[in-house]
Amino acid sequence: MKKIATLIALFLTLTACSEDADDNAVAETNASVSFKFTHNWNDQLLDSSNFENLDLTNENGEVINIDRIRYLISRIELINTDNNLSYVFDGYKFTDLSNEDTYDFSPETNAVPLGNYQLKFIWGFNEQDNINGAYPDLNIASWNWPDMLGGGYHFLQFDGMYNVNTTNPAPFNYHNGTARVSEGVFEQNFATITFSESFTISNNATIEVKMNIAQFFTNPNTWDLNVLDTPLMPNYTAQKMMQENVLSVFSLGEIIQ
């Protein structure tokens, strides 16, 4: 009996010790990295509480209201700038601006070796991942991209009204996904987002990624909603302009560790 008691005591002591270690000390060689996405329209921060209520002016001068923004990114990757080894996080991130629970991304499998890194991810899904119907959580969000346009999934659904300062506001549906060249001929349309900044991961870290929604209408293509409002999904030129504009939408924010 005494032996059992001692064993229990020992066990308790041990667990107590290891808990301490987790709480205070630096993970010796690996860090857990999570991501926090913030959204803005130039200087204006957007979140679930305000994004539907703002009159926003785009580069071309139209005043718009936003109804809905949902977007998908995947293959979030940290590339070690010393040895070029990359650490790719599992899964994808589906964000709905109306639901703040979707702003953060905390990958489960998460052991990034300490070191100097650059961040990279895919806008949407690349061809390998953009498989028709393969992701139940995206299916129930009706996030699918029609077969007749190449199938797979949306990358972006950005809906709202423009010319809201006039007597004739009109809807726009800025939806991005696979581009249809002609009937039955499709072209991949994802984008690789790379950030030039290098940073040091020395501890568990939270990396902020900023998304400036205004840039979808800005750079390099100044978007004229009077010409390109809806439907844009089957419009090859519009799809390719979106693929170009998304490259200037994201920037690296604060890194907290």
Partner: protein, 359 residues
Amino acid sequence: MKYWITYCLLTIIICSCSKSEDTINNNDAYVPIPYQLEVPQHFDQLLIDPIIPFDNPMTEEGVSLGKRLFYDRILSVDNTKACASCHMPQNGFSDSNKFSIGVSGNFGNRNSMPLINLAWNFDDKYFWDGRALGLEHQALEPVTNPIELENPSWSDVEDRLNNHPEYPNLFNQAFGTSTITKDLVTKAIAQFERTLISGNSKFDKFLNGGATLTAQEQEGLNVFMDEERGDCFHCHGNPNNPLWTDNQFHNNGLDATFTDLGLGAVTGNPNDNGKFRSPTLRNLAYTAPYMHDGRFLTLDDVIEHYSSGLQNSSTIDPLMKKVEQGGVQLSEEDKNNLKAFLLSLSDPSFINNPAFLPQ
């Protein structure tokens, strides 16, 4: 330290004691048989698992009790109406009346809702305006609603059930207690409602390789999926979302001014005025009339609404296109094809399933 050891030993002893006690109890109590939901194969593959609350696991006894309660007029104040009076199997568990009639002949301003694949309503918000959270919680309302089953209070219903010759025993078999409470009544009903699965329409058979679509149905699917024509899929699902709804709230352009604020009355947010939950497009052949107020008698009326009848308002969904012209003006051929496709989502085996009908 010594105290710790004693404490640990004590815990171990207590645990082992209580275990043996459990076993003794279990020998006496009836153990209900776990119920296995029959999930269609393509649901299993394309959708996330149905939601079954951990505090209301499904059992054979619970489901069959829930079914009996669903059809039993004992739940109404004067024994004249049951849930099924307004949720009739032959109508896809909805009502062919524009507004359902309650016990004393009163009616409200909402059309009854079909009860289809509710276990896949992942946000768990029920009613046209989403005001009830959870299916168990939803079932509390109709029993005391003054235009539905009209009981002055739940305790009257509990008394009637507790004094019934059979119900106490049935509750004992399902839940291990013969004391009937409103919580157990709604748990049983919710278990039955979760079994109301529809996944065997012609279109489902087509997806599973067991049927071919006519040219008209195929072309109708194209209209549905075409952003330039129907553009229905952004709110009503697609072949990879066989629920045929997003279960989200939208204003689909029915009115320029609102007599019923819908979601807006629930959230208090004016941006939500005139928004209602997108219904599933399954079983439309049986669920007329359509929309939250049952304003459209036929599918032709519904299609005409989206094609040329849109009404502008400040909360209209931007997916509603060409509102100033009333809509995208589908051709007659597109309208007919769209209708043929919509009807391929109706599932006769759902309304005739003997497991859903009273014994």
